[in-house]
């Protein structure tokens, strides 16, 4: 008998329904999928197709109506709220749409934010500076986000996502607000992170992203179609 393959991420019969007025609306409907360690996956679909909802559930941010999300053999939604926070801190780097930088913190402070709650005691600033250097913003580390261009803000968001060296990076429309050239550079950076071993899941509208991904998942009306 063959031993079942252990995927890094396993999604079983995932369902998410919302109450809309008196009726129930399915955002995610019986989704099953798996993602292996080191994959670069894009999730594509129209607006309202449920792709962002799926990403939220993969990131331990949204409890499904039914089904399971298992990451590294951990059933995320059997964990308590605080344990899920610890999981996010240890396993996930988020790159949010619209960057979501903290406006009153400098680049260096924004990037080191995830380290504020880790057990790491020493060299936090050195590590953060190394990551900032990597995304090419060393000379702007003491600037506030509103003094940066859109592309620079996105790079800060990437630096913040990888500063704790999480195995999984989840990105929601990372190039949605950027011009084509800047978007290309951002995708290059994500591909580079993937080559270093990070598993990357990107929700996007941008068909050019497919070229960087090892696999593409399409979501339509809450169902995975490929």
């Amino acid at each position: 008998m063959m031993k079942p393959v252990d995927h890094f991420i396993q999604v079983h019969d995932l369902v998410k329904t919302y109450a809309d007025g008196g009726r129930s609306v399915s955002a995610i409907d019986q989704v099953n999928l798996s993602i292996d360690d080191g994959e670069f996956v894009t999730i594509m679909g129209r607006s309202g197709s449920g792709k962002s909802t799926l990403l939220s559930m993969l990131g331990a941010l949204m409890r499904p109506t039914s089904g399971k999300v298992v990451v590294d053999s951990m059933d995320l939604y059997s964990l308590g709220s605080e344990q899920r926070a610890d999981f996010r801190s240890e396993y996930i780097g988020f790159i949010f749409q619209s960057f979501q930088l903290i406006p009153y913190l400098t680049v260096l402070e924004n990037v080191s934010l995830p380290m504020a709650v880790t057990g790491l005691k020493k060299k936090k600033m050195d590590m953060a500076m190394a990551v900032i250097d990597r995304v090419g913003l060393a000379d702007k580390h003491d600037r506030l986000p509103d003094r940066l261009s859109g592309g620079e803000q996105e790079r800060v968001a990437i630096a913040r996502a990888i500063v704790n060296h999480p195995p999984l990076i989840l990105a929601d429309e990372p190039t949605g607000n950027l011009d084509t050239d800047t978007a290309g550079r951002i995708m290059e950076q994500l591909a580079s992170l993937n080559r270093e071993g990070h598993t990357i899941v990107v929700v996007t509208h941008n068909p050019e992203m497919e070229a960087y991904a090892s696999r593409n998942i399409r979501v339509r009306d809450g169902r995975v179609s490929a």
Binding site: S52, L55, S56, G59, L61, M62, S81, E82, A85, D86, F87, R88, S89, E90, I92, F94, F96, Q97, S98, Q100, I102, Y104, L105, T106, E109, S112, L113, P114, M115, A116, V117, T118, K124, M125, A128, L144, R160, L170, D172
Partner: protein
């Protein structure tokens, strides 16, 4: 990076916003400090007036049946022939617990003396103390400076038909009248006033004291407490407080204090509510930010820590700024509103209390907003994924 760096970053780079957040506390604490300063100033003013008003405690030997009336105020019993206090024991007054609240201590010897075939009251006093106790005394001539000089009450001077410069003889001792008092309406109008030592000698009561008038005022303790403390030291004396005058003044201060306290509680409550409302507003505005914190792995406790730490810093700042503001307003307002009112000075102890109270209120008012922030669903808060 520590959690407090987030708070400091927020406070440092959003100063105006933080100022508005702290405004409720600043106004609340400022009002309390101003009101307390006004009450303090009023208390001191009344204290000074009472000091000028004369004695408020009288100590006389414990007597029965006979009453001694002095200055129109009943001060207990006296019997000229039977008992006096021992002058040497007077130092014990200074050994009471609240000795620092004692002002002027004026011992007296009283007794009848015959001058020009007329019997008058001879009162021996320590002029330095007596004049400090009775600043309203007006005289013709001068106050006595030597042992052989006398001061006469207006009625006594008329009776004996003497004026400043005249010489009188008491029991064979010559005395010069240095001054005559203007009518006061008090017992001294009828008295011949000499130095304590010569009067004791004339009356044959060396080392004896008929009564002691004491000017004392104690804002920190009731006047009756002082009289009890003195009475403890002099078991053979009757110590009486002229309570009516003091108590009515004290009652006014207490009334104003209660009013101030009531207003302070009201203002502080409103301030705390204001902090709570502004904190809630701040939390609502920071919903996305809190969502980011939660998404990148901050626990609920971490979010609460950030909000409460900010509240604590705001509270300390609000307390300090309110204390400075309150003192500033009091300094300006007291001379304008109180006749002869003076700013009582900065009370550092009150400053400490304000700081603690402000920090505690800010924390208390922020508890619910912090709990609400920590309980936010990270996905709902972000509304981006």
């Amino acid at each position: 990076m520590k959690l407090y760096n987030i708070c400091l970053g927020n406070i440092k780079r959003r100063k105006t916003r933080m100022l508005f957040l702290a405004l409720g506390l600043i106004i609340g604490i400022g009002t309390v400090v101003t009101l307390l300063s006004i009450t303090e100033s009023m208390g001191r003013d009344i204290e000074e007036r009472l000091d000028q008003f004369g004695a408020n405690i009288v100590m006389a030997p414990r007597m029965e049946n006979l009453s001694l009336n002095y200055g129109g105020i009943d001060v207990g019993g006296v019997n000229y022939e039977i008992r006096e206090l021992d002058q040497a024991s007077l130092f014990r007054i200074h050994t009471i617990e609240n000795a620092k609240n004692l002002g002027v201590i004026a011992p007296k010897i009283l007794g009848p003396v015959t001058i020009m075939d007329k019997t008058v009251l001879l009162m021996g006093v320590v002029f330095e103390e007596e004049l400090a106790l009775k600043p309203w005394w007006q005289k013709t001539g001068a106050f006595p400076e030597a042992d052989n000089e006398l001061l006469l009450g207006s009625a006594a001077a008329s009776l004996l038909n003497v004026s400043p410069g005249s010489t009188l003889e008491m029991k064979g001792h010559p005395f010069q009248v240095s001054g005559v008092l203007e009518p006061t309406g008090g017992s001294e109008d009828n008295a011949v006033i000499a130095g304590l030592s010569p009067a004791q000698k004339i009356l044959g009561k060396q080392g004896k004291i008929s009564l002691v008038e004491i000017s004392a005022f104690c804002r920190g303790c009731p006047i009756t407490e002082l009289t009890l403390q003195i009475a403890e030291k002099f078991p053979n004396a009757t110590v009486t407080a002229m309570k009516q005058a003091v108590m009515s003044k004290m009652q006014s201060i207490e009334l104003f204090k209660s009013f101030s306290l009531g207003v302070s509680v009201l203002v502080i409550t409103i301030g705390a509510l204001l902090v709570m409302v502004t904190m809630m507003g701040s939390v609502n505005q920071r919903t996305r930010e809190i969502g980011v914190f939660r998404a990148i792995g901050f626990r609920q406790g971490h979010v609460m820590e950030i909000i409460l730490l900010e509240a604590l810093l705001l509270g300390v700042f609000g307390g300090l700024a309110g204390f400075v503001l309150g003192n500033g307003v009091a300094r300006i307002i007291i001379p304008l509103t109180l006749e002869a009112g003076r700013f009582p000075g900065i009370d550092w102890q009150l400053g400490g209390i304000c700081l603690l109270m402000s920090a505690a209120l800010s924390l208390l008012a922020s508890l619910y907003p912090a709990f609400k922030a920590a309980s936010l669903d990270p996905n709902q808060a972000l509304r981006v994924l």
